[in-house]
């Protein structure tokens, strides 16, 4: 979907910048040239960035334990139960929104207002380091790996712990 969007955007930029598209190259000039009146075309691209962090031993153990993974896969194949039922790509049940202390903002606040978050912590039981062999590898390279793997029993534990922490 993103590619389609970018291609359509590129076509638009071709049009606006007065460049001809290949299909019309021999017979038509651009339909319009509006680069002077739409100076912000293609600019101001806004895109959230994010960082994966990991600190759960259990998900790490699972992610590096082929036996546990095989058992989980067998449970899923047999009767659709087990860890793999915890939702796959990116199920996130707990969110924390936080703001920087004003001392770090240096008078420049990009948020929508004083009650809006600067960052979001999306807590999930996941194994971004699913195929990583070492913890060091995992911690330093996990952001390169988009594979997400949820583990339902631990997910429930996470929910309980978060609830406990937030109530205390």
């Amino acid at each position: 979907m993103i590619c389609e969007k970018l291609e359509s955007l590129q076509s638009l930029i071709c049009l606006v910048l007065g460049r001809t598209l290949p299909i019309t190259q021999s017979s038509r000039s651009p339909l319009a040239s509006i680069s002077q009146t739409t100076p912000t075309l293609g600019e101001g691209k806004a895109l959230h960035s994010f960082i994966y962090n990991s600190s759960l031993r259990t998900s790490y153990s699972f992610s590096t334990n082929a036996t546990l993974q095989a058992e989980a896969f067998q449970l899923w194949k047999n009767n659709r139960t087990g860890p793999l039922t915890a939702g796959s790509l990116g199920r996130i049940d707990q969110l924390i929104w936080g703001r920087l202390p004003s001392s770090l903002l240096n008078a420049s606040d990009p948020s929508a207002g004083s009650n809006s978050a600067h960052y979001e912590l999306a807590l999930a039981v996941s194994s971004f380091c699913f195929y990583k062999s070492s913890l060091r590898d995992c911690l330093t390279r996990m952001s390169r790996d988009l594979l997400i793997f949820c583990y339902r029993p631990l997910l429930l534990l996470v929910q309980r712990l978060v609830s406990t922490i937030l109530q205390s």
Binding site: Q10, L12, T37, T40, G42, G44, K45, A46, L100, L104
Partner: protein
């Protein structure tokens, strides 16, 4: 950890005249100092949270050195710079603006400015990403 609010604005420009070639996409992350500060503080917040006693049974262990050693902000900055990736929902490259405004690509009715018969109907008309409350 996602930076919900940020200043940085990237660009999408042409690489070639060929419509089917990929464009040049530059997210220009972390060009605003506060954007880096948010990533760093968000990372600190995550490890602060996970340092709670309730997690002790499942924690991987002590927090990384760039968290426990508060004076080593360079290491945390390097961690943020080296691990930050895109969240894959870009907006803003065909911004909507008021009718007659000197900036913007489409009018509030999604029609391309100074052209006829063309509307842009996707998230590229969003001017900014906002964090919802």
């Amino acid at each position: 950890m996602v930076n919900s609010s940020f200043f940085t604005g990237g660009t999408v420009t042409l690489k070639t005249n060929n419509t089917f070639d990929a464009p040049l996409i530059n997210p220009a992350y972390l060009t605003a100092p506060v954007d880096l500060a948010i990533l760093m503080e968000g990372t600190r917040a995550f490890f602060r949270f996970m340092d709670a006693p309730a997690w002790s049974d499942v924690s991987l262990g002590p927090n990384p050195g760039f968290i426990t050693n508060a004076s080593d902000s360079i290491a945390l900055e390097n961690f943020a710079r080296n691990t930050v990736i895109a969240n894959l929902h870009p907006v803003g490259t065909a911004s909507m603006s008021p009718v007659g405004a000197s900036w913007g690509v489409v009018n509030p009715d999604l029609r391309l400015k100074q052209a006829s018969g063309l509307r842009i109907i996707d998230a590229s008309v969003f001017v900014r990403l906002f964090q919802f409350k």
